[in-house]
Subunit: 416 residues, 2 copies
């Protein structure tokens, strides 16, 4: 049998150079020894894995998402968790540079052994891959792993919310990994290989593919549209808003070193009843959202980025221009004690259900300093008429440790 | 309520200009009056909707797929089918130019009516969208729609194949629409709006999202990799191989005008047992496929595009370099009376199943002049050791009418 290259070994050589990457900028890298398939900037982008905070939170939102939640195996110990996070960190360092996992990759090593890497991302650029790790509340349960003293005080399971219809099998989890990339195959490849590495210590509980980001974290990204056809995330916190990030996103740690510079991650799978929505009058759609469908301007007028004027009155009707129960009003910081979240959701479409309805909606992801931000705003949305057209069908809640520096592994302080 | 733009009306004005597009080249178009979000060539690409053959077959393979199969409603008549194809053709002309469906789009028309277009593709470029229509064999059943005399002689339901485990609910269908685009939201938007237009005449039976093309139709596209990590589609028929297309893809019509220049479309949802595959030795993976995993060269040596030498003997083992049951040998034209297919499949990933295994694989799409091409090759693959790692879980079979010209609608001759 002829093997014309040992790409994994070539990569081993490239690794030393790759390790010099870092800092705040965007560097270029190649996945393997082949010529790059494209010089496209989105394909060749890389983001540093190390930093004060984990990547994939304020990073410019990539085009595609693969999100996985894992459960530890029944008999896993604290040491299993520690070695898993060590191994995942090592693999993530490779992946974030557009490299394969392991030292011998997909086609190196012994032909008598399974390849270390699954290989489907060979020839693809790094595609701006970021990998973000989170820990579920159950890891800190007393008597389970001996981590109860490491639990941030606010880190308790989310309460129940009005109207939610959660599927347990696709909710929760002991650990999560958010992989974002400009190519879906690169995001899926990352999760798949991290799952292989977890074998015997943790297995996937649920996973979610998303596309079409529904928010921006930088001002040069146009505001995308969700599957209701409206611009979504206009008022999202941006990466350059240091004061807002400090106030709303980055945790001081609640006394836990591993969480200082971390944040809380909430996911909600929000099914949209799009066939019903699509039969709704345009003016009703706009009244429910509180924004114009075309430009995305608040119904009080002007442009997408104009602050809503909640007191403005429609001359035509004599009522408030932005209805009292409009989504934009109910969710606005002015009516939620100033609270904001950093959002990073994606659209999803998964064929159709047994009733012939499209299985589609928003995979909502938000980062916040305190779970109260999500809880309070979600409670305020209980009277949102949008609820006629959406269902929260799955939920995830994780604490995202601070970023790693100088060769640390993720959540290293957890085991100190 | 303020509405700052009537983008649909702007589009009405743009439509006349858009109609001048056509011919064999790639033109530029904008979805709405906004500045384009990107000058990216993939985003701004358009392909002509009219032509001798339908688009989306030899068109350079786009990055994303949304494929839908529809059933006619129980009491639908031949006239319902005809008007549906008329309406779909009209909408597809708009969509292929990167425009919204209808005359008033997503934000024009009366605010008291539901918008004509669902709106989620506003602001996105045309993204090379192609829409390809097909007809299922059940449309031609005697006594159903009066179309029995229009049935091509070879157009009968596919036989059963060894080892397949087909799910009826996600197989078959009276009609199909293949939407391919460089942005998944554009492909999903097309199917969603065609489904709305079909309301009362047909509804979606099943739909499939795909990403990461697994074949190329032009020589400048690098061969992509499937989820087994191998290059896939190396030997695919290319758009510039006129003799091969005439010999293997384009039908002479079998006496039916509507089918002259058409082709048969087969879809197979092929679940991969990737966890098992990933634990297989590299040399076994390569022996099963018959190709090197790194470069994609046949195991008889040289480069990806070297013809396999099926007689070559391995000096190490004394056996054939390409094993007698290797996939590349079993599927090769030399062992299948010269038969070839034009392939256009995509990878899919859909979270994981109840056993914790990844639900992922290949959504196989192939176009061929005769169903025998698929049937004979699939039968030859019954003894493929790859079957240990794959399951055919869904199947579709459709006759794709010739392309439309001069304002015709799809399958117009069917009703002559």
């Amino acid at each position: 049998m002829t093997r014309v290259s040992r790409r994994g070994l070539l990569l081993g050589g490239a690794a030393a150079g790759g390790a010099a990457l870092g800092g705040g900028g965007v560097a270029l890298a190649l996945r393997d020894g082949d010529a790059p398939a494209s010089a496209d900037a989105d394909e060749q982008a890389t983001y540093p894995f190390e930093g004060e905070h984990q990547a994939g939170i304020t990073t410019p939102v990539q085009r595609h998402l693969y999100f996985a939640a894992y459960d530890l195996t029944a008999n896993a110990t604290r040491d299993d968790l520690r070695t898993l996070l060590e191994d995942w960190t090592e693999a993530a360092r490779h992946l974030a540079q557009g490299r394969e996992v392991g030292e011998t990759g997909a086609v190196g090593g012994s032909p008598l052994a399974p390849p270390e890497d699954t290989g489907e991302a060979l020839g693809l650029g790094p595609n701006g891959l970021t990998i973000t790790f989170g820990l579920g509340p159950a890891l800190f349960e007393p008597g389970r792993l001996g981590l109860e003293k490491k639990r941030p005080a606010l880190f308790e399971p989310l309460p129940s919310f009005a109207l939610e219809l959660l599927d347990e099998a696709t909710s929760g989890g002991d650990l999560c990994v958010q992989a974002c990339a400009n190519d879906p195959q690169v995001a899926v490849h990352a999760i798949r290989n991290l799952s292989r590495i977890a074998f015997g210590r943790a297995q996937i509980r649920w996973a979610q593919l998303g596309y079409g980001r529904t928010s921006s974290t930088t001002r040069d990204q146009a505001t995308p549209r969700n599957l209701m056809g409206f611009k979504d995330g206009t008022r999202n916190i941006k990466a350059d808003e240091a004061d807002e990030l400090a106030a709303h996103v980055w945790s001081g740690g609640e006394g836990q070193d591993w969480f200082a510079g971390g944040t809380y991650l909430v996911t909600r799978k929000i099914q949209m009843l799009i066939e019903s929505w699509d039969r709704t009058r345009l003016d009703e759609q706009e009244a429910i959202i509180g924004r114009d469908k075309g430009k995305g301007a608040p119904l009080s007028g002007d442009t997408e980025f104009t602050e809503p004027d909640f007191e403005a009155v429609s001359t035509a009707t004599g009522d408030k221009a932005i209805p009292m129960d409009a989504h934009v009003r109910l969710a606005h910081p002015d009516f939620n004690t100033g609270q904001r979240m950093l959002r990073r959701g994606y659209n999803y479409v998964e064929g159709n259900n047994a009733l012939g309805q499209t299985s589609a909606g928003l995979f909502f992801i938000a980062f916040q300093k305190s779970p109260r931000q999500f809880i309070d705003i979600q409670n305020a949305l209980a009277r949102d008429p949008l609820n006629e057209y959406i269902r929260h069908v799955a939920s995830g809640f994780f604490a995202v440790p601070r970023g790693v520096r100088g060769g640390e592994h993720v959540a290293q302080d957890l085991f100190a």
